[in-house]
Amino acid sequence: MPERLPPNDVTRIAAIELSALRLADVLPPEPFEGAALPSEGTPVYDLNGELLFHRVPIVTGDDPAAYADVAVHPAVGGPLIAASHGVAWDEQAIVVAATDEAHSHGVAFDTVRFVAYSFPKIALQFLRGGEEVLMLEWGTWAVVPPAQDGDRKPLEPGNFERWSLLDELPPELKERRAGQFRERLAIHGAVELRGVETALVSRDLFGPAAATSLVDTRELHFSGNQADHHVCYEVRGQRTSVWCVAASTQMLLDFYRYDYTQVRLAQELGLGTLAAPSGLPYSRVGDVVTVIEKMTSNALDATMIVSPGFGAFQSEIKANRPTISFIPGHSRTVAGYTRSVLNPFPMILRGLLVYDPWPPNAGVVTRWENFDTQVYQYAYSAVVKLV
């Protein structure tokens, strides 16, 4: 099994991934059905110099109507990063336009390459003797400023700041994503797909036996018995625009029949009052554990999970326990999960059932949140202590 995707396999992998999304009706017929992938496209590098992905043009008839980003580096986590339509990808025309722009800046260069200066945003890097002399953002042709000095946290870049995806990904996340990447490539090497040699996108690629099937989905119930009880969870809207943590804690405690008001929980969490509310500072994320245990007289054993994977949520739901989920700037609770599998080979789509306290005084139930499009920072589980 190759560690990275070989460039000569880019169009085949892209065709299979895009065809699977067509089969699942995730991608619309226009412009994808019957589209061709005439070349492996444009290599796009990380700022640290490693090859990250290829941007592959998707052509319908004679028109370049769309493009797909196909990962080469395993740390991206999966071969297909995105499929975009509405904008064509014409590498040659882009380089010509960028070169004209670079000349207007009066720089001399011998090499031009595409870089993900703020993944997945693209820029053109102009080099001379291997050293950068200019970087221009694709499309706007704005000069991308040099890397900023500073002591910010990884993966929290400022506006229009260049940063390296590969250098800033935490090592454990990188390793996990590499594992996912290898698993996905193994699927492409499976018996059913080994013989697929194509550069065409079609929902019929996999034959008449292919279909989507929901193989595993589960929601919180009154008890662990899934067969004879109803779904048992309620959404609580946050009482102020900054009390998502209080509302999330309230939802979790409500599940265990601890009937606290959100105002009281906000007070315990140090989030002020209805008249003068505040959010929870990142420096106090551990307070959620303390408050859950305090408000239940330690009947609940709470745990904070850093950078939770899908499996962390899945195992909690299987144990019939809700989970508080922190994403950048927000908190919600998770009350279910689903894994859709595209047959006959396992192309997996993962989703979470999210009880979201936003908008204020209302809240929504998000069914389903695409797990692969969100950043999960912290999760909190709470286990009833048994005697």
Binding site: S278, G329, V364
Partner: protein, 163 residues
């Protein structure tokens, strides 16, 4: 936003609805897909698109798509199966005139508003309309409108804009 892009998003939303990927039986049978609305990020660029699904005058839910067409989430306002009785009015989320008028109930003396746009507060899942409020001296402050709630953008921390 081009008409082609609008049509593609509407198609994707319709397909997800009719297949039963999102919504319950009531929404699948009576839900109507509304026009996609761009969700702008703090940098003014399009972060995603929100597509409302209405049953009559009620907003059953919102689909949120990334610019490449990937479904990011479906947020349901339903509080009970096959019921939209407690869902908000669609106009509270989709009619810029009503949203602007709601913000104008919170103006200070000599303030006026500009055209609102859909954005988010701190995280893309926290959708809200931003109504720019202009004072007599020309100063500007933002007001956010999320359904019937009107507030100023949040401060720091979880639930706030930054750490």
């Amino acid at each position: 936003m081009t008409e082609t892009a609008r049509a593609l998003l509407r198609h994707a939303a319709e397909a997800l609805l009719r297949q039963g990927t999102v919504g319950d039986e009531l929404v699948r049978e009576r839900g109507r897909v509304r026009e996609p609305v761009p969700v702008l990020g703090p940098d003014g660029e399009v972060h995603s698109f929100a597509v409302g699904v209405a049953v009559g005058e009620k907003l059953a839910g919102l689909l949120q798509f990334l610019p490449d067409g990937t479904l990011m989430r479906y947020a349901s306002f339903q509080r009970g199966r096959d019921s939209v009785a407690e869902a908000p009015e669609a106009a509270d989320w989709l009619d810029p005139k009503r949203i602007r008028a709601r913000a104008e109930e919170h103006l200070r003396p000599h303030e006026s508003t500009r055209t609102p746009y859909l954005t988010f507060d701190a995280n893309p899942t926290r959708l809200a309309w931003l109504v720019p409020v202009v004072s007599a001296s020309g100063g500007e402050r933002p007001l956010l409108v999320a359904g019937t709630s009107v507030f100023e953008p949040s401060g720091g921390g979880i639930g706030g804009a930054t750490g």
